[in-house]
């Protein structure tokens, strides 16, 4: 081994070492193709036929007595919609697992809930300590495989997260072994997912991620067809934005919207724009949308309008809005208030009244529930934070399927995942009904 010599003698220049250097770097140069820029792939859902306006809601799974969070949607190759979320006794507990269920748009029903990955199954596959699992997000790769990315933590809280990935070739019926993505040089700490992946024209995948340890900022990973990370790009400077959602408007243009996690008194969604397919992003700016440090989601309609679901309020997460922009995000109009319990903040209901409200909201959300009153105790446990009973409608995931239908899933009081489905006719009707809607 080099470095050891008689005291005082200069080490030699071994010719073998020189040969090793040349072979090593020569091999690396040959095997490292460099990074090729690529245009965005633009999805093309149907414009929507002359349907009757349709808007319906239900719960993804009726399972009770768990805390649920961070649902995410993906359209499968056959047009069905698969949801992923995490559930367990409480956020961050060791029993939390990544759950999934499939929605059949023809039958209008959700299939049974199953577990995709747990702390134990992930730990056994990635062969290192895993303390807990968190946010899942999924996307279809260019080769048709379904990719699931989810947060795993080995050390500390969510700031100690890293990303684990799995693939499925049969739309989520069976899965490959989970494997760890290496995305950070410092102990691979602090890369989290929330926003949906998107595709580049060359078949590579963009995965919006964010970092929370010491600095908080949004980032963009680019993965090749095998899931290898081939690039990582920062979208914001520290303290400006988390949980980016990338809305691809054209092969070169995209808007990234981010949750604001800073100290400003009037928090706004952070946005940044690219006009060269992600080669460069503009410095992050405040949009006109309010944001109470909460996740958001959006899609680009075939006619170029942007549709976003978010908590468009400055505090709390007790109101969830659907907003639309016709000018690329310059201004927004409220299409529909999907949920709103913000008026109850100032006059907190007592327990009995709270349980009655929860039962009423549950019945309105899903008329097929056998016993809407059954969820009250579970919601109460999740939403009583020592001062009062809260309401929470948060972490939306919005997609438009190839048929033109829209689907949103979101946290319903941290106890159930609510699903809302509507069509283009309903959206257009809202616009005409709400032509007087408040511009922001």
């Amino acid at each position: 081994m080099t470095g050891a010599n008689a005291p005082g003698a200069a080490p030699p220049r071994p010719p073998l070492l020189l040969a090793l250097i040349l072979v090593a770097f020569g091999t690396a140069f040959l095997r490292s193709p460099g990074l090729n820029p690529a245009l965005f792939r633009v999805s093309s859902p149907a414009e929507g036929g002359p349907d009757e306006p349709r808007f319906e809601s239900s719960f993804v799974s009726p399972r009770n007595n768990t805390q649920t969070h961070a649902a995410s949607l993906v359209e499968l190759r056959d047009g069905r919609v698969r949801a992923f979320w995490y559930a367990g006794s409480r956020e961050g507990a060791e029993d939390v697992a990544i759950q999934t269920a499939v929605f059949d748009p023809h039958g209008g029903r959700w299939g049974g809930e199953t577990t995709v990955a747990s702390r134990e199954s992930t730990q056994a596959s990635v062969r290192r300590l895993v303390k807990k699992v968190g946010n899942p997000t999924a996307g279809l790769a260019a080769d048709g495989r379904l990719w699931l990315f989810y947060v795993t933590v080995s050390v500390g809280g969510w700031a100690g997260s890293s990303i684990t990935a799995m693939t499925s070739s049969d739309d989520g019926e069976t899965w490959s072994a989970p494997r760890r993505l290496i995305t950070s040089p410092f102990l691979n700490l602090s890369t989290l997912v929330r926003g949906a992946p998107f595709l580049y024209a060359d078949g590579t995948m963009g995965l919006p991620v964010y970092h929370e340890f010491i600095g908080q900022f949004g980032e963009l990973l680019r993965l090749d067809g095998t899931g290898r990370v081939i690039d990582k790009q920062r979208l914001t400077v520290s303290g400006r934005g988390l949980q980016p959602v990338v809305l691809v408007r054209s092969p070169r243009e995209a808007l990234a919207l981010m949750r604001y996690a800073g100290p400003e008194r009037h928090p706004k969604v952070v946005e940044t724009v690219t006009r060269d397919a992600g080669q460069h992003w503009t410095p992050p700016t405040r949009s006109t949308l309010s944001n109470p440090d909460a996740a958001l989601s959006g899609v680009v309609l075939p006619d170029g309008r942007l549709l976003v679901a978010l908590n468009n309020i400055e505090v709390d997460r007790d109101a969830l809005s659907l907003v639309i922009s016709r000018d690329g995000g310059g201004s927004w109009e409220t299409v529909r208030q999907l949920e709103d319990q913000s008026a109850r903040r100032e006059a907190p209901p007592d327990e009995a009244r709270y349980l009655r409200i929860i039962a009423r909201l549950a019945r309105a959300s899903d008329p097929s529930l056998a016993d809407p009153t059954a969820y009250g105790p579970s919601v109460k446990r999740a939403m009583y934070w020592g001062d009062r009973y809260h309401f929470e409608f948060s972490y939306p995931s919005l997609i438009q399927t190839r048929s033109g239908d829209f689907h949103i899933v979101y946290d319903w009081n941290r106890t159930l995942i609510k699903h809302v489905r509507f069509n283009r006719a309903w959206l257009d009707q809202q616009r005409s009904d709400a032509s007087h809607a408040d511009p922001h």
């Binding site: 050891a4 200069a10 030699p12 770097f25 730990q123 300590l129 040089p185 520290s238």
Partner: protein, 204 residues
């Protein structure tokens, strides 16, 4: 079956666990057979599952995969009593510690959010970054600092063949342990110089 990258990561972590007893001077002076048994047992124990995961897996969860540089240094430390290698010569040690400390200071604060520039991005398929590594390795070889050349060459080979889960060259040449070793070595050297008594002039 574990993948090759899993095996490499777990073995590196096991090596780190096995190298800990070598910190005691008496241990490194044990007869070779006893020492080999001790180190071999430590590696095996580090790879045997306890509670579903081997100790090396727990360590890997905490530290991530060790860099190739750290692995080379660990292999050198473990092999030293058997092969009669002396300590790393001062010039190699100083150069290596300087590069690791400098690399750590140039990488970690910015990768964790200081400023808008992320040097970690350079490690993804940036040919000129690889070129800088080649120049460093050649310069170290020419300046007779072969340990630096060796660490760089082995790290780059491992990078080229995908020897770790990471696809970023930084993760092959540097990790926080190596940076801390480099930085603490430099600080210790600086402090020793400051605290050393001044040389006395020879009496006439």
């Amino acid at each position: 079956m574990p993948t090759l990258t899993d095996l490499g990561g777990l073995l590196s972590a096991a090596l780190l666990i096995a190298a800990v007893p070598l910190g005691w001077p008496r241990v490194s002076r044990l007869p070779h057979a006893v020492l080999a048994l001790l180190l071999g047992s430590a590696v095996v124990l580090a790879l045997l599952p306890f509670g579903g995961l081997p100790p090396a897996g727990y360590l890997r969860g905490l530290l991530g995969d060790l860099s190739i540089t750290t692995t080379v240094l660990l292999l050198r430390a473990v092999g030293r009593p058997f092969f009669g290698w002396g300590p790393i010569d001062p010039r190699s040690r100083l150069t290596l510690q300087g590069l690791l400390a400098g690399g750590g200071l140039a990488l970690y604060p910015f990768a964790l959010g200081v400023g808008a520039f992320d040097p970690y991005r350079l490690g993804y398929a940036a040919p000129w970054f690889l070129g800088v590594g080649l120049l460093l390795a050649l310069a170290a070889w020419f300046r007779r600092v072969p340990l630096v050349s060796l660490c760089l060459a082995v790290a780059v080979i491992a990078y080229a063949i995908g020897g770790r889960e990471s696809t970023n060259l930084w993760d092959y040449v540097l990790d926080p342990l190596a940076a801390i070793w480099g930085l603490s070595g430099l600080l210790f050297r600086g402090a020793s110089r400051l605290l050393a008594p001044p040389d006395r002039a020879p009496s006439s």
